[in-house]
């Protein structure tokens, strides 16, 4: 029983884009909520490929991105920057953030603002993400 738990938890950390199915936007939203709830260090455990998933980017918060910029590996940073520079991906990211705001209540743009700030932070500190 414990082994199953630990396996699931491990997968959620390392391959969140697989542990949480990413077929629909609702499923992507669930991944985003999972990522938001993580501690700042936990984001580093994700494989670099996970950063190409919109659900994960929609879940990154400001504390996590600062820690990520200071500690993440080249491959993780590269993948995140590629996603951030791709307009079609970011469009979907904002859609997910909007759904998250909708879950919280009416006229709430907290998550959308968060994603915007994260994106701005990455662009402000482009030398750190560009290799």
């Amino acid at each position: 029983m414990n082994d199953n738990y630990s396996d699931n938890i491990l997968n959620e950390f390392v391959i969140p884009h697989i542990a949480f199915p990413q077929d629909t936007i609702q499923q992507k939203k669930i991944l985003a909520w999972h990522i938001v709830s993580l501690k700042k260090e936990d984001l580093l455990f994700s494989s670099a490929f996970a950063f190409s998933y919109q659900g994960l980017i929609a879940g990154i918060n400001t504390v996590q991105i600062e820690y990520f910029a200071k500690n993440a590996t080249i491959s993780q940073k590269k993948e995140l920057l590629i996603s951030m520079l791709a307009d079609y991906r970011m469009k979907e990211v904002f859609e997910i953030a909007k759904l998250m705001d909708d879950d919280m209540g009416e006229n709430i743009s907290q998550n959308q603002q968060r994603v915007k700030n994260v994106q701005r932070y990455v662009f402000d500190n482009l030398p750190v993400f560009q290799f």
Partner: protein, 547 residues
């Protein structure tokens, strides 16, 4: 069948867990706690693995890696996003103008060109001068000045090793580093052993020994770069170095003279050499030479190789003359408590009285004093060629040269042990134990000293059966008594008696040469066909063999 009883019995069979949340024994709170606990365990495990895997992984591009870490930390603070926003709002900048601000700040921070802010702003953003000044002031006050302060702070770079132990690097001049960490003196700098000026044995190429060598050659105190260059390229020890080793040694000497800071790993402690790759030295192997050999763990040579996985060339002590080789392994008379001042004083290579090196030095001195005197030297077979050449020059010079060669070569060459096939292990140095070998060497050294004392008759004897024409002539001249009966000298013993006056002997030889037709007289030594042949005609230096 009573169903109530059955229910009761079934109910009794179910063993609810402690703190049961109901009849089914499932407590949500308990499960939550359990999952949290497992999550924490997985997290810790992942963190440990991550630290090990990405201990020294590159996190920043090279340009940012070279910046002060505190300055980078400051620049990566998320609050700066709002600071840029505020400055842009205050100056009335649009989003494009606002996005130039962090770019300019990063450029200044990387180039450390703190006065270029105005110029960069003017180049990037088209604004009225007053707005420029305002933006520049705001950036200067809020960000640039702070980065400048942080960048100029001395810092210790932390490197996490793969084992999870963090490495701490500090920047210190070599003199300060030696004072703070005396162990650094024993750090190996180059690969080959070095010969110190007043030391008979080869020493480890440690920082301390190199500094001793440098001060011995160039004197203590400050030196110019030309002096250092001369030492690095022309001194006896340094001229043999490869480019990488020379570069490393140059760093040490520069730091010694000019107090330039070197990177010191506090956990070693050891100097961290950053060798710039050049076209000549494509292959760089730094860590190997950075290995420390502590003076306390001085081991016999073989044990050193066995215990440390260093390449043999690194600590291979070149062949010490076997006659004076110490029984014990080469030990440096260095104590860890030795003060760093001694590194900068002119080296006193005399080992302390009573130490084993003191006795070795005595032996060498005795040999040096007594070996040059003998006139008859028994040279080993492998030194024949140079000796034959010597025979053609003046005897005095020959004696001197042979002395030098015997001093240089005799100890290096293995003793000519007579091979006894019946007992190969008794006399063969390859099969002998160290103790036996050492005893044998000692005996031979003593015998050599005694021989050299006794052989003062002025004779030079060569083991080679071959003779040069000059030798033959000399022999013929010397052994040509006019009327006395000729004493047959044994042919095996070939001695060349040095004439008391070399000039006269040379003159005599020259006069004899002029009288004789030719010294190159070829005569077949054996063979039946020889008898049928007539004597060849010799005209000057031409030999007619046609008969």
């Amino acid at each position: 069948m009573d169903t109530n009883n059955l229910y009761q019995s079934n109910n009794n069979m179910m063993t609810p867990s402690t703190n049961a949340g109901g009849v089914f024994g499932y407590d949500v709170e308990e499960k939550k706690k359990e999952i949290e606990k497992i999550t924490q365990e997985v997290r810790e495990e992942l963190m440990n693995k991550w630290k090990k895997t990405y201990a020294n992984a590159q996190i920043f591009p090279a340009a940012i890696e070279s910046m002060h870490p505190e300055a980078v930390d400051f620049l990566l603070n998320f609050k700066l996003v709002s600071v840029y926003d505020a400055i842009a709002k205050q100056a009335g900048l649009d989003s494009v103008g606002r996005n130039f601000l962090p770019e300019i700040v990063w450029q200044i921070a990387q180039s450390k060109n703190w006065n270029a802010l105005d110029q960069m702003l003017e180049e990037k953003i088209q604004l009225v001068h007053s707005v420029h000044v305002m933006v520049a002031n705001l950036l200067q006050e809020n960000i640039v000045s702070k980065i400048k302060v942080l960048s100029e702070k001395p810092y210790a770079k932390k490197i996490v090793s793969s084992s999870g132990v963090s490495k701490k690097e500090v920047q210190l001049a070599i003199a300060d580093a030696l004072l703070k960490y005396p162990e650094i003196a024993q750090q190996i700098v180059t690969s080959e052993s070095i010969k110190l000026q007043f030391s008979p044995i080869l020493m480890r190429p440690s920082i301390k020994n190199w500094i001793s060598d440098f001060h011995g050659a160039m004197g203590a105190g400050k030196h110019s770069p030309i002096d250092r260059g001369n030492f690095l390229f022309h001194s006896e020890n340094a001229k043999k170095l490869n480019a990488i080793d020379r570069q490393k040694l140059g760093m040490i000497l520069k730091s010694l003279d000019e107090q330039t800071p070197l990177k010191i790993d506090e956990h070693g402690p050891a100097v961290v050499f950053e060798v710039v790759p050049t076209a000549k030295n494509e292959q760089i192997q730094l860590p190997a030479n950075n290995q420390m050999i502590q003076s306390e763990d001085v081991l016999p040579e073989r044990d050193v190789f066995a215990s440390r996985s260093l390449p043999e060339r690194e600590i291979s002590v070149p062949k010490i003359p076997t006659a004076i080789a110490p029984k014990a392994p080469i030990k440096e008379p260095v104590s860890m408590s030795e003060k760093a001042e001694s590194f900068f004083s002119v080296p006193n290579s005399k080992p302390p009285i009573g130490s084993e090196h003191f006795n070795e030095q005595k032996v060498v001195e005795v040999e040096k004093k007594e070996i040059p005197l003998p006139k008859e030297i028994f040279a080993p077979a492998n030194v024949q060629a140079p000796i034959q050449n010597i025979a053609t020059i003046s005897p005095a010079t020959a004696v001197r040269t042979v002395e030098q060669q015997s001093v240089q070569k005799t100890p290096i060459s293995q003793p000519s042990v007579e091979k006894n096939p019946a007992a190969p292990t008794q006399n063969d140095p390859n099969f002998m134990s160290d103790d036996m070998l050492y005893q044998m060497m000692q005996e031979r050294a003593q015998k050599n000293v005694v021989k050299s004392k006794n052989n003062l008759s002025g004779k030079i004897s060569f083991s080679s059966p071959q003779k040069f024409a000059v030798e033959k002539e000399k022999k013929s001249v010397m052994g040509k008594p006019v009327a006395a009966p000729v004493q047959k000298q044994p042919e095996q013993k070939q001695t060349v008696q040095a004439h008391p006056d070399p000039k006269q002997s040379m003159l005599k030889t020259a006069s004899i040469n002029s009288q004789k037709s030719s010294p190159f007289h070829i005569k077949p030594s054996s063979g039946s066909y020889v008898h049928n042949l007539s004597e060849p005609k010799v005209e000057k230096n031409m030999v007619d063999l046609r008969g």
